[in-house]
């Protein structure tokens, strides 16, 4: 067992705004070099959590260390070691892409080369264009470029691919994989579950300010969440569904019982999105203990 200290350690974190509890008793660690996704519906507390880790907000309770430092009292040296891609950008952007990147590179003690970063985000052609003249997706690439220009050890990516076309998204994924191979630790929030599955090693799901599940991407929701689902319409026209580890047997039995093809028959293997939605809906229904409410057949 290695004993490297975690890059991020969150212990019993709570955050309230007046009477509203945005985050309640959240704990998780992120290991150095790991990519960790924080998933959850809008307003679930993801942004509050990530902004506490970035040092933008003060926590109400609990302990947080980021790169060994409490972000609430972190100095400029600490900021030189992190990179932040904020959720939305709306800067008036009178600087050109090149000017903005050069200027930000100058703020860091050991920045990446500006040309290299320009190429990495695919904006070489737009280097001399003022940022406000770029498309939304291109401006988002500038945000990403500014987040990595300082050669961060830990990169925060808050919904980084909003506004990207599919090609740009895949290029962005390649960039993140490169950063991962360099050993960059990454904390990602996204609503794109494919992206989370593609990039992250582990994920935590936040709903209503609580961490309802955490684990490796392939293990979220537990084994029961991965049980295939068979869906069909019965003779009375009622939609039925059942979960079983032996879908073929169930389908064969259905065919026998119904004396023919079951109507609208589907066999579904849950994707991360299905599992995520199951967890979130299960939590919303108030059954945190058993988040998988459909009937499970042995």
């Amino acid at each position: 067992m290695t004993t490297t200290p975690p890059a991020v350690r969150v212990s019993r974190l709570s955050k309230s705004y007046g009477a509203f509890d945005a985050v309640t008793d959240i704990s998780f660690d992120i290991r150095p070099g790991e990519t960790f996704a924080l998933l959850g519906p809008n307003g679930a507390g993801k942004s509050s959590t990530i902004e506490i880790l970035e040092g933008y907000r003060d926590r109400s309770e609990g302990d947080v260390t980021v790169l060994g430092v409490d972000p609430q009292h972190a100095g400029l040296d600490w900021k030189a070691r992190i990179g932040i891609v904020l959720q939305s950008s709306g800067e008036s952007g009178n600087a050109t892409v090149l000017e903005q990147l050069r200027h930000f590179a100058g703020l860091y003690p050991d920045p990446r080369s500006v040309d290299e970063v320009l190429a990495a985000v695919g904006l070489e052609e737009k280097a001399k264009t003022r940022i406000h003249k770029l498309s939304g997706g291109q401006q988002r690439r500038v945000d990403v470029a500014l987040g990595i220009i300082g050669r961060p050890e830990l990169l925060f990516l808050d919904e980084p691919t909003t506004g990207f076309d599919p090609e740009a998204r895949h290029q962005f994924w390649d960039l993140i994989r490169t950063l991962k191979t360099e050993g960059t630790t990454i904390l990602l929030t996204t609503h794109n579950l494919d992206e989370a599955a593609e990039l992250s090693d582990r994920a935590g799901i936040i709903v209503g300010g609580k961490l309802i599940d955490i684990g490796a991407i392939g293990e979220l929701g537990g084994p029961s969440a991965r049980i295939p689902m068979v869906r069909w319409r019965d003779a009375g026209g009622v939609q039925r569904e059942a979960r079983t580890d032996a879908p073929a047997r169930l389908v064969a039995q259905l065919a026998r019982d119904l004396g023919g093809e079951p109507a609208e028959l589907q066999v579904i293997r849950p994707s991360l999105e299905d599992i995520y939605l199951g967890l979130v809906r299960g939590h919303a229904a108030g059954s945190t203990a058993d988040t998988h409410s459909t009937e499970v057949l042995a």
């Binding site: 040296d77 950008s89 003690p109």
Partner: protein, 286 residues
């Protein structure tokens, strides 16, 4: 986005750029962006030129100001309004410019982004104050050149007058810059910044002897204006550019440069304390 970032062993992170050298880098960046903002160039940089032109065109037909009983002597309308326009330029370049600029940067996320980098707020302030100084000096020098050569206004030749000009200008413009940083905390959003700042600036200009002859204002209005810095900047500028015979038209019959310095120093302290207390990279809701 092709993934071609080269990996290399990172240098020790402890060596940080000096606060001051980062501040200098900010000044250059800030000035570049200042001149790319059409609104700022028009309503802050060029405004005093436009007003000087309008006043000269509107009132020149009425003859000189401060003439002898026989109608001789006195100074031209342009010459009379020049000190006020210089003072207005200081207020606009410092207070109006920074209050709107920083409120906008807060509103559009610029400050939040900078707050996530190893930029010290001190370097950021150096950048802003430097931007104000450079653009303010440029504005004043151009205004003097235009006054001299386009409006044929005689400028003082006495070095002592120019010494007064330098300290009144620097003290006034720096005071206005800090007051602008402090005032930028007031607007609730970047979009409402102009609506909050411009009326304040406009009212001050009307009551402080920029657009209206100060000695023609009722005494209560002069007293109210005396509570704010613009009146003192305008008075200091009149001491430089108007003939000494005009001193008798001041509220107390003299230029009172000592009081000008005192009033501006008090407002400088107000601005410094206000900036220090109110400046945040982001609004923290706790």
């Amino acid at each position: 986005m092709s993934a071609t970032l080269t990996d290399r062993p990172t240098r020790p992170r402890t060596a940080r750029h000096g606060l001051f050298s980062l501040g200098l880098a900010r000044i250059g960046f800030e000035i570049k962006l200042y001149f790319r903002s059409t609104d700022t160039v028009f309503f802050t940089f060029l405004f005093p030129f436009i007003m000087l032109g309008i006043f000269t065109a509107a009132f020149s037909a009425q003859g000189n100001i401060g003439t002898n009983p026989d109608g001789s002597g006195g100074i031209s309308v342009g010459a009379y309004y020049l000190p006020g326009m210089l003072a207005a330029g200081m207020l606009l370049s410092g207070l109006q410019n920074l209050a709107i600029d920083i409120a906008g940067e807060k509103g559009d996320g610029t400050l939040k982004r900078l707050g996530g980098t190893p930029l010290s707020p001190l370097s950021y302030f150096i950048g802003k104050i430097g931007q104000v100084l450079v653009t303010g000096i440029l504005q004043a020098v151009l205004l003097l050149i235009v006054a001299r050569f386009a409006f044929d206004i005689a400028l003082p030749t006495d070095p002592e007058k120019w010494l007064t000009f330098v300290w009144v200008f620097l003290l006034g413009v720096i005071t206005c810059a800090f007051l602008g940083i402090a005032l930028s905390a007031v607007p609730r959003s970047g979009r409402s910044a102009s609506a909050v700042v411009i009326p304040i600036v406009l009212v001050l200009q009307f009551i402080s002897g920029v657009y209206l002859q100060f000695n023609a204002l009722p005494e209560w209005m002069q007293n109210v204006a005396g509570l704010f810095p613009l009146k003192w900047m305008a008075q200091g500028m009149r001491a430089v550019f108007l003939p000494d015979s005009f001193a008798s038209q001041e509220q107390n019959g003299a230029w009172e440069l000592g009081l000008v310095a005192l009033a501006l120093l008090i407002w400088l302290v107000v601005g410094l304390v206000g900036s220090r207390l109110t400046f945040r990279w982001i609004r923290k809701d706790t």
